[in-house]
């Protein structure tokens, strides 16, 4: 079983990892929208690129850890749902982000 300390560490360490990833992502967004978004431009950058493949895989993994744990805190505090229900929901949300995220990575790389 995962204990509270491990969950806390998972959330904070994924946050530390996300800081540089988000900075690069923000910079890239601003550069990418300059001439409007097009599939050719996005895919031209990412297709066949090991570097972007690794970057977005890391991004998806960090997000799939960080986001459901944050949502778990919010649901614990701001809803009256049972802890078991909250945990089940957040586990499913984690899986959704992992699957949809990795599918997106494979689609663009």
């Amino acid at each position: 079983m995962i204990n509270g300390r491990q969950l806390y560490l998972a959330q904070r360490l994924s946050a530390v990892l996300l800081v540089p990833l988000v900075l690069i992502h923000l910079a890239l967004i601003i550069i990418a929208v300059r001439n409007g978004l097009s599939a050719a431009e996005i895919l031209g950058r990412t297709r066949g690129s090991l570097l972007w493949g690794v970057f977005y895989t890391l991004f998806v993994l960090a997000v799939a850890v960080h986001v459901p744990l944050g949502v778990r805190n919010v649901m614990t505090e701001w809803t009256r749902l049972q802890p078991r229900v909250v945990d089940a929901f957040c586990l499913l949300f984690c899986l959704l982000l992992l699957i949809a995220g990795m599918r997106a990575v494979f689609a663009v790389v």
């Binding site: 204990n3 509270g4 300390r5 806390y8 560490l9 904070r12 614990t76 505090e77 701001w78």
Partner: protein, 264 residues
């Protein structure tokens, strides 16, 4: 030392300083409209008119209402001088020691609202049951366990050692539950043990005489422990003795990665 700029979680010094009425505010002799909570949690406010005096605490107001208007009003106090912590109530929305809160500091116009502390069962009117507060204090692991018996020599503690200084910075808590009442997370999460309990745990983490020091990090991260804190800072803003439970909790969180500090 702390430079007290506006960028810090400033303790609310109005509890400590005597400040005169601001221009435009009610003056001595004016009628104050005082709303006081009556009944249990499902009770309601009742209005009383009380004369504003030159030098008057919120506790004085409550006492005047009980003696002259509402003999059945229940409230709690003992020392009247900021030592015991038993007169804590919610005054115009914030938890305070009423004996150390001058009326001029908190009135909005001529309005004063006095309620029981938040997040605790109300026994009657302004009196709360503090049992849940102390139960959580126990659950958090706040009980000191000695390494020696009365037959041993006392452990020598250097007052200048970093660990002792750290413990001393957080040790003056008298468990008045003002921080517990100020904290939103306590209201949102029934498991959360609250700022005072975690602040206490942090003092034990820095006490080399504590037998269960090795367990402190595990206790800190149990369900409802330090990871539930979101650094709102309301505990520290309202602590009447100017402790910083926020900092103590942050230090416990830090131990998840770096371990507990050395106490030798």
């Amino acid at each position: 030392m702390t430079s007290k700029t506006s960028d810090t979680v400033q303790p609310d010094r109005s509890q400590h300083d005597h400040v005169h009425a601001q221009p435009g505010q009610a003056q001595p002799g004016d009628r104050l409209e005082v709303s006081i909570w009556r009944g249990k949690r499902d009770g309601g406010f009742k209005q009383y008119a009380v004369e504003l005096r030159e030098n008057q605490t919120v506790l004085d107001i409550v006492t005047e209402v009980q003696r002259q208007h509402e003999p059945s009003l229940a409230y709690r106090f003992a020392c009247r001088v900021g030592v015991c912590g038993s007169c804590a109530m919610t005054v115009n929305g914030a938890p305070r020691w009423t004996c150390r809160t001058h009326v001029n500091q908190v009135i909005a116009g001529n309005q004063l609202t006095i309620e029981p502390l938040r997040h605790l069962p109300v026994i009657k009117d302004l009196v709360c049951d503090l049992a849940p507060f102390f139960e959580k204090w126990q659950k958090a692991g706040g009980t000191f366990k000695p390494t020696k018996s009365r037959l041993d020599k006392p452990e020598p503690i250097d007052p200048q050692s970093p660990a002792r200084k750290t413990a001393n910075a957080a040790i003056e808590c008298i468990n008045c539950a003002v921080c517990y009442s100020a904290c939103d997370v306590v209201g949102w999460n029934n498991d959360y043990v609250g700022p005072a309990a975690l602040n206490r745990l942090w003092t034990l983490a820095n006490d080399k005489r504590h037998a269960d020091r090795e367990q402190v990090t595990d206790l800190a991260f149990q369900e409802g422990g330090c990871a539930s804190c979101h650094s709102h800072g309301n505990c520290t803003r309202h602590c009447p003795v100017e402790l910083s439970p926020s900092q103590s909790i942050a230090a416990l969180k830090k131990s998840a990665i770096f371990g507990l500090p050395d106490v030798e």
